[in-house]
Subunit: 415 residues, 2 copies
Amino acid sequence: MPSLLGEEIVARINELAAISETPEHLARIYLTPEHRKAADLLLSWMREAGMSAHLDAIGNVCGRYEGEAPDLPCLMLGSHYDTVRDAGKWDGPLGLITAISCVADLNRRGRRLPFAIEVTGFADEEGVRFASTLLGSRAVAGTFDESVLNAHDHAGISMREAMIAFGLNPDHIGAAARARRELLAYVELHIEQGPVLEEKELPVGVVTAIAGATRLAAKLTGMAGHAGTVPMGLRRDALTGAAESITAIEEFCKTDGGGLVGTVGYIDALPGATNVIPGKVSFTIDIRAPTDMHRKRAVADIVRRIEAIAKRRTLALQVDVTHENRTVPCAPWLKEQVAEAVAGEGFPVFELPSGAGHDGMAMIDIADVAMLFVRCRAGISHHPDEHVELADADAGARVLLRLIENFWPREMVQS
Amino acid sequence: MPSLLGEEIVARINELAAISETPEHLARIYLTPEHRKAADLLLSWMREAGMSAHLDAIGNVCGRYEGEAPDLPCLMLGSHYDTVRDAGKWDGPLGLITAISCVADLNRRGRRLPFAIEVTGFADEEGVRFASTLLGSRAVAGTFDESVLNAHDHAGISMREAMIAFGLNPDHIGAAARARRELLAYVELHIEQGPVLEEKELPVGVVTAIAGATRLAAKLTGMAGHAGTVPMGLRRDALTGAAESITAIEEFCKTDGGGLVGTVGYIDALPGATNVIPGKVSFTIDIRAPTDMHRKRAVADIVRRIEAIAKRRTLALQVDVTHENRTVPCAPWLKEQVAEAVAGEGFPVFELPSGAGHDGMAMIDIADVAMLFVRCRAGISHHPDEHVELADADAGARVLLRLIENFWPREMVQS
């Protein structure tokens, strides 16, 4: 009964969304009472779905549905259940709740597979509280950075203190780590958080890779001056230099055609008065592409263009890399199975990269990764207007269920 | 002895600059103890130069050097003696002190002219304290806006209260007003505050007009989005739209060739995060040209271009005029006499507009106006680095003195 799957998922999305720091603005932050309440609810759903379930050493919820025999390696499904502040209710929970509902469906039918299924709800993907993302999945992947334990939240509470207050032992985080041999693959269903599927009129899409990102901080320095007294030809205007650079970045990415995106999200012009030519401008550049090589080449090309603009305008330029994330490609063998499941449910197979980060970025260290995107309205995410249609939630669930039931581990695919 | 004139002027510039709110950062603000001290010093110099001198009803210093007969109409010279905060010492005082030194020179030689000379030191041109400029010259021109008396400074003191505390009667400001028949002309020497004379290697320049200015507030609204998930082709990025607009404004002004200048001095992109496509951008546009018609046509053309950019990018655009100042042309007959004095001192005659505002903008209501610019280093003004070479201060003084001694009132020029 596929439509029942979608209805159950949407009902549970709403039930989970009611667990929030304030009723008006959804916020479910790591190691808070809301975290605890949400975990309890998720664990109850997992158990209801025939899984054994527990909270792990970092606060992830972990459910396991045994296969045809005990102790088989698992297909791991998952997503996160923390949120940003003033969040939408679908980012994270949709993948987690869908996975639980799929297992519940198998369980109702008494269906056991030649592998176990595990569903993991990661406790902190957004990194709102301690300014470090992917805490839950990094712990599972065994790559948790212990120094984050000493990071403090806005109230001055360290992660270590918050864990203890929550009832977790910060010295036991290592216990959350899983071994590569325990996992056959990691598959995550997630809302797209972008407008491409809506544009293509498709309910679901097959993710090719989680795009890496390079963030740059650029600073142009010219000469401030009086807006009335310095003729155009004698100016060293840092803002017109920045404007030309921003236009060049956009032009470069637009003509790329290979999924490259470049964004200037922040700009500051000093001194910032109506009647003063800006002498200094700072701006950020965020560049993402489906492959690392593509991104790195683009970063180099863009920096070269800005350098040429600065030189021609006799502006001093400083560019620093402030952040760099490698691209996480989805495993071809696994992606192919996702595509087959999409086609099997009667939907056109459409591939797209993920421009946003996901727990797969951490899970890649212990498993091959694939992702299925579900259309969200207008591409809006991290906002209360985030929305998924019931039919699309249902489509995602049907594809995921089909994927699970037809899943073949890599070894068997290759042999 | 012309070089003595320059030396006296520079010495007095330094003496006046010592009267400041703090010793480190020059600030001489309207109706403060520094205003009082500076006024007393200027009045003493005026009297020393053979002038009768008094503080007028708004706090201007007014000196009068009689002509060959009493009660003759005057050639009025002047500039302001208030400063911005962290100011240079030449902006304003150079014109005022030079005028006093020229009169002193005439007085030493016992030279009387067929007209009186008046020197006015305006008490507030910069408008730092009550956010309204040209207070001194507007009072003299009889156009003082009484509502400014109710404006408050940062400490919450109204202009009315500050005047009373200073010993002036706010109900008597009208007494500062002069009649058109009392003035033959108003001539102001001032530092250029721009880099043109330095570029041309000239000590002085003849001002053609005080350029009018139009200030616009522009707001572009597109759609904020995730920097990773929205492909270039689906973006409505308000900042790339603003960048294209800024580049277009620069291009338009650069190719104008007629002294048009356009400046975007302030920009703000929201939400302003590295990884979010800006959905809203506000920026200012300051446009100045030597004539009102030129400026108005340019404003219309620039707005049309931005409208086209916004339309093509499906961005909403709002443009508001926040400020508009008419152009004050220098009177041709008077400008010609300034040019003759420049040539008479052996300097090439070079004409340029004033992009900055000056007291002549108010004085135009009761007299024909001309201005002589003196070169300042690197065009820097409103900054402690503001600097005028002794030789240039001297050149300016010699030109002004020659102008005074050869001055013919308009009636006599035309007859």
